[in-house]
């Protein structure tokens, strides 16, 4: 039964566009879904390795820019009269490129940042996202800077019998995001429930002891960072092709904070935490639209974050699980 329940949940979500073809509902769920994927990836670092990475949006943004640039093509000079040129590529290729590039930067940041812990780690990750934002703002030849990359084509898929299809409709985008979210969830689950996941939890729980039993801490942290960054890059790619504009503000700290709030309220270090937290904080803004001043909404988020950390630090999912009577 408990093995079936998640699949029933996915099936219900998949049938939603058929049962309720309300485009607004689908739009809201699609954009919430993209951030839920981001939260799922952040959870791997924040929840399972216990490293408070506050530059997570960097990978999301890298994925968005990579995917958008692959789809639009570019032609830049790299000095010494050399140029790099790329013709526009299909969206799925950009999607893979986004995962690879974001994962690569995850490796780089991991190598650099995991030499330090605690406050230093947090600040270095924040700075990492800031530097990328500055680059996105000022490398105008590549990124168009503040003018943003516009007219990004929608996602396209090769479907049997129909050839390459551009996903314009709400339902198609919704299904795409749902599918990627399910894959992201499964990837994280497989990792977490394996020897690698145990190593991650061990080093979160007691780093000295983990090292003493032969767990190569940095190695596993870097693996986690690469996977996490890759998934965030995939979310960024979906974002780029769904919203169809990418500008340097995609690197803003506030997006990281949004993902952090989702993970913390849902329950960090639990598989369902980011999904639950993501649904709550992905839907609330749209429910509140027009009912509360936007500043009041942000004040409420801030208060919620404080209250959760202080009074329900493990989040909603573990709290619910502990309410359920044990068999």
């Amino acid at each position: 039964m408990s093995k079936l329940l998640p699949w029933l949940f996915v099936a219900a979500l998949a049938l939603l566009p058929v049962a309720f073809p309300d485009p607004y509902l689908l739009a809201v769920l699609t954009s919430a879904g993209i951030f839920i994927i981001g939260a799922i990836s952040l959870n791997l670092l924040l929840g399972y390795t216990g490293q408070l990475s506050l530059g997570h949006v960097a990978f999301f943004g890298l994925g968005a820019y990579t995917s958008a640039l692959a789809a639009l093509g570019f032609d830049i000079g790299i000095g010494f009269g050399l140029r790099i040129t790329l013709a526009p590529q299909p969206a799925w290729l950009g999607f893979i490129a986004a995962i690879v590039v974001a994962g690569g930067f995850g490796w780089l940041l991991g190598r650099l940042a995991f030499r330090v812990r605690g406050a230093y780690f947090v600040i270095i990750t924040i700075c990492f996202a800031q530097v990328l934002r500055m680059v996105a703002l000022n490398w105008i030849e590549l990124t168009q800077g503040p003018m943003a990359l516009i007219s990004i084509p929608p996602f396209s898929l090769w479907l049997p019998g129909q050839g390459v299809v551009a996903l314009y409709s709400k339902a198609q985008n919704y299904w795409l995001v749902l599918a990627v979210a399910v894959v992201a969830f499964l990837v994280v689950r497989q990792v977490v429930e394996s020897r690698i996941g145990r190593a991650l939890v061990a080093l979160r729980s007691n780093e000295s002891l983990a090292r003493s039993v032969g767990i190569r801490v940095t190695h596993y942290l870097v693996i986690a960072a690469v996977i996490s960054a890759g998934i965030a890059g995939a979310a960024g790619s979906l974002f780029a092709h769904y919203v169809r504009i990418v500008d340097p503000d995609v690197f803003l700290f506030i997006y990281t904070v949004t993902m952090v709030i989702m993970v913390i309220t849902g329950g960090k270090g639990t598989l369902w935490g980011p999904v639950v937290g993501g649904l709550i904080f992905g839907l609330i803004p749209d429910l509140l639209r027009g009912h509360a001043a936007p500043e009041a909404q942000w004040v409420a988020y801030g208060v919620a974050m404080i209250l959760f950390v202080m009074f329900l630090p493990r989040g909603i999912v573990p709290a619910l699980a502990s309410l359920r009577p044990r068999p």
Binding site: I124, Q130, M134, E295, W298, V299, G302, V303, M310
Partner: protein
């Protein structure tokens, strides 16, 4: 050459206020192990209070600066008593999350209260710059530099000469031993956070009239304050002073001679470099033995 001198003066003026920001942040980290994400908001708060006192209540400018600083002290004390005191046993990451929540609340409450339109604070200094050979500088900026220096000096004297300062230094070095020696660590924490907040508010009160006052003014400043303390080594007071001036000069000279676009990026790049090469900062805080 003329340009060099002007950049030197600009960098010094900028560095003085950066140092003020950095000292407060590093003090709080050193004593309490708290990364204060509300630092930028307290800076904005100081500026808004100055605006409120000068423009709305018609208070004398100098008095308004003092009152704004005191308001920052009070807000800091309140934050410590309401939030941080309950989090004393929590891990550093949870405390950071709470402080991020608090900064969201503060910034948006400011936006709610004051609206998004930036405010200009009138000040008593005539607008014409003082000119000395090739260099020009506003009297207001010199005043800001002077007050920053005075505050820094006063802060050092407080640490060195007063009982509260001794208790603070003791807690800075080792909270457990300090508690055993009869230091009331709870109150030291409150005082520390209040003073650190007051310094941030003072920086805002001083720079508010130089620039303009807006709800988002704390964003970049908060990040820069992080840069400053990381440059100097988290928890190192001389390091924060040095880091403040270092960032001021780097920004001014990089902006003047290399690229104005990347001006703000240099600080962050510098941090990543420093952390990659010398993770404990330029002036490492004393290593603990134990």
């Amino acid at each position: 050459m003329d340009q060099l001198l002007q950049h030197l003066v600009n960098g010094t003026v900028l560095g003085g206020t950066y140092a003020l920001l950095g000292i407060g942040l590093t003090l709080i980290f050193g004593v309490m192990r708290v990364v204060n994400f509300t630092h930028g908001e307290l800076y904005a708060f100081g500026a808004y209070m100055t605006y409120a006192f000068v423009s709305l209540l018609g208070v004398n400018f100098y008095l308004a600066l003092a009152l704004a600083t005191l308001a920052g002290v009070a807000l800091g004390a309140a934050l410590e008593l309401v939030l941080l005191r309950r989090m004393r046993r929590a891990d550093i990451d949870s405390v950071m999350l709470v402080m991020i929540g608090a900064s969201l609340v503060l910034q948006n409450a400011e936006m709610w209260a004051w609206g998004g339109v930036a405010k200009l604070i009138p000040n008593p200094f005539a607008g014409s710059p003082l000119v000395l050979g090739p260099v020009s500088v506003l009297p207001l900026r010199l005043f800001v530099l002077g007050v920053s220096a005075a505050l820094l000096l006063g802060f050092w004297l407080m640490l060195d000469r007063t009982r509260a300062g001794v208790a603070m230094r003791a807690t800075f070095q080792d909270p457990e031993t300090a508690a055993l020696m009869g230091v009331r660590v709870g109150w030291v924490n409150t005082a520390t956070f209040a003073i650190g907040s007051g310094l941030a508010a003072a920086a805002g009160a001083l720079l508010g009239p130089v620039f303009m006052v807006s709800p988002t003014m704390g964003d970049l400043v908060g990040l820069k304050a992080f840069a400053i303390v990381i440059l100097g080594g988290l928890g190192s007071l001389p390091g924060a002073t040095l880091g403040g001036f270092a960032l001021g000069f780097v920004e001014e000279f990089a902006g003047g001679y290399l690229s104005t676009e990347y001006r703000d990026a240099f600080g962050f790049l510098l941090i990543i470099l420093v952390l990659a090469l010398k993770p404990q900062g330029l002036v490492p805080a004393k290593e603990r033995i134990g």
